[in-house]
Symmetry: C2
Subunit: 377 residues, 2 copies
């Protein structure tokens, strides 16, 4: 069928359907459930994110982050997903693709049955959390598109309450840090810096020499002595730091609990926290947890974590890896309900493929698009 003919036929069919449905709409208590039929078709491909700046960590540096992009098609609608794979987390494009090849979504007739579908995916293998998230995100995008609503609305949240995102100032020479801080300070409302070295105070003082914006610090398990850590937190608070991530090793939970009990700043779990099942033992040891879709298997578990953490009177932040606007926009759907957001992963790449949640005056700004709120660029 020629495209023009197809459009014509489709339009006529739609008019017929529409006449029925407009009559239905008037009997508003009889609106019928739209039942769709079809099979879930999964496709995926590797993609390398080009980083705006070379990323320096303890023993290495890199210019790209590998990801795998997923699509799940159902009844002519496509949901987009993504697995982001920073090397230190153990998943690779090859391992994700191997995992995705094991998934048979065609056995499910209804994409809405997330509890069963994601339960099945979770049981295929241990770990592989980013691969699992790439399925979860694509299904949420698909379902949201079927319902024609974005997930922040389906979850009952008001997107105008999304917080500002922090923006990370990478470790570099003090001159470069000063320059980066100046640039970031004009665009973002919270700066983030990774500490846990013997240059911690120098970094903070350098940032403070050019900006008075609040600072979030991520220690990445870097401190080794609890009393030193607590003293440092008091010093940081005096210098306008507002929160601390993972001050000590995840194997030193008692020391972290000791710090949290005495800390004037909230202490968040990052390396200590992956999934919902980790939450109970962290209550009391941390003020809150950093939810990352790539670690917790996606949006469904993230929403559960949020609710369970709130019930335990814990704070919640939402974080990310280097990701396209696909996974970032997915994570941002949760952001109206969190205390802190650290969703700058898409701001650090030069070859994004999607347009979605943006940062306006430093604040996460969600679209009204359905699903995870993105379109292809």
């Amino acid at each position: 069928m020629q495209r023009r003919n197809f459009i014509k036929t489709a339009t006529i069919a739609a008019i017929a359907t529409s006449m029925q449905s407009s009559l239905f709409a008037m009997q508003s208590d009889k609106v019928k459930n739209i039942t769709r039929k079809g099979k879930l078709k999964l496709s995926f491909r590797p993609y390398d994110l080009q980083l705006r700046h070379i990323f320096i960590i303890a023993n290495s540096s890199r210019a790209t982050t590998p990801v795998v992009l997923t699509e799940i098609e159902y009844d002519g609608i496509i949901g987009y997903g993504e697995a982001s794979l920073p090397p230190y987390l153990g998943e690779t494009q090859a391992s994700v693709i191997e995992f995705l090849k094991k998934i048979n979504l065609e056995q499910f007739s209804d994409p809405f049955q997330l509890e069963d579908i994601l339960g099945y995916v979770d049981k295929i293998a241990e770990n592989n959390t980013a691969a699992k998230a790439s399925i979860d995100i694509a299904l949420h995008d698909l379902i949201g598109k079927i319902m024609q609503q974005p997930w922040h609305k389906i979850w009952g949240l008001d997107k105008s309450k999304s917080p500002s995102t922090s923006f990370t100032i990478g470790i570099d020479s003090l001159d470069v840090v000063r320059q980066k801080t100046l640039e970031a300070s004009s665009l973002y409302n919270i700066l983030k810096v990774k500490l846990g070295r013997n240059t911690d105070k120098e970094m903070i003082e350098t940032i403070r020499s050019v900006s008075d914006k609040p600072i979030a610090v991520d220690i990445n398990q870097g401190w080794t002595d609890k009393q030193m850590a607590l003293d440092m937190i008091y010093w940081l608070k005096e210098h306008g730091v507002v929160m601390v991530e993972q001050p000590m090793s995840k194997y030193k939970l008692d020391d972290i609990a000791w710090i949290t009990e005495r800390s004037p700043l909230p202490i968040f779990a990052d390396e200590s926290f992956q999934r919902l099942t980790d939450l109970p033992r962290l209550k009391g040891a941390f003020s809150g947890v950093n939810i990352k879709l790539m670690k917790c298997t996606g949006m469904r578990e993230a929403w559960k974590i949020l609710n369970v953490a709130r019930a335990a009177d814990m704070k919640v932040m939402i974080g990310c890896m280097t990701e396209t606007s696909c996974a970032i926009s997915a994570a941002s759907q949760l952001s109206p309900a969190v205390d802190w957001a650290d969703l700058d992963g898409n701001l650090l790449i030069t070859n994004d493929l999607y347009k979605g949640t943006t940062v306006v005056d430093g604040k996460l700004t969600l679209t009204d698009l359905p699903g995870i709120g993105i379109e292809k660029i």
Copy 2:
């Protein structure tokens, strides 16, 4: 405008809209969010449920249960809700109406913002949980209708996994109990009986004389000695009882914990449990909780309770008051995710106003209708 003209105009407008949307649908990654405009209009009226059998409790009996029925209209779509008010819970039709009159929903432009709207409603006054539930249910019905999906699907659940509901055999003379058991036994897969008197064994033996169906027992805080309670639970287990609700007073949590630790049957909290905030202190003391929409303020909190309870490795049952198929169908949306269901409230009345979730071969059977899955009879 005459009705006929209205239909015509509406149809033409719908055709125009439909032509656009069918074009959109072909570019499936560009499906737009349907934005609706309008005000939320709340209306309500008292209604008396006629009971099929006179309801006998310790010191009184009654032939009706008062409820208040709510409707929330938005953009031509109506969501239905209900507050059920058995006298012993303290709310009356007058107190519910007084509460509902205080609610100004017109300040909210978007019915999807449940976190804010229900947060506002919850803060209007303490308690009044049934009145709050009547708003929560109507909004869920409305939103589900806008998205054209039932809540079990929005929550990611498979309705074919809904369990059988238990059906209560009322307290009566042993002849009547025998007769009622015979009738119920042919329709339901689990029988429920209220114990906590000196006739407990007699009741069970009478039921067992005519039926071998599994039995759930609700003690309603009736037992006063923990050792006696535990001995009784062992005896009940031998007689095919499968679960126990609220064995002792809610003020005797330590005794209940002692029982739960030793019990061969799961022990559920009912009087001990109202809302999400009660959950943490019940962990360890009970095997699970009985969620009732009229006590926990509705579907949104019920879904949170379910997820928090699961994270705490606790069992979940869903219960009800005497209710129309409105509140019963709303509660049943959660049922594919629970361990036990006790949703027989609508089966006990003769003047139901809605058609929704039914019992087929003893099993809760949800409709595919959107929202809470009901239509007016």
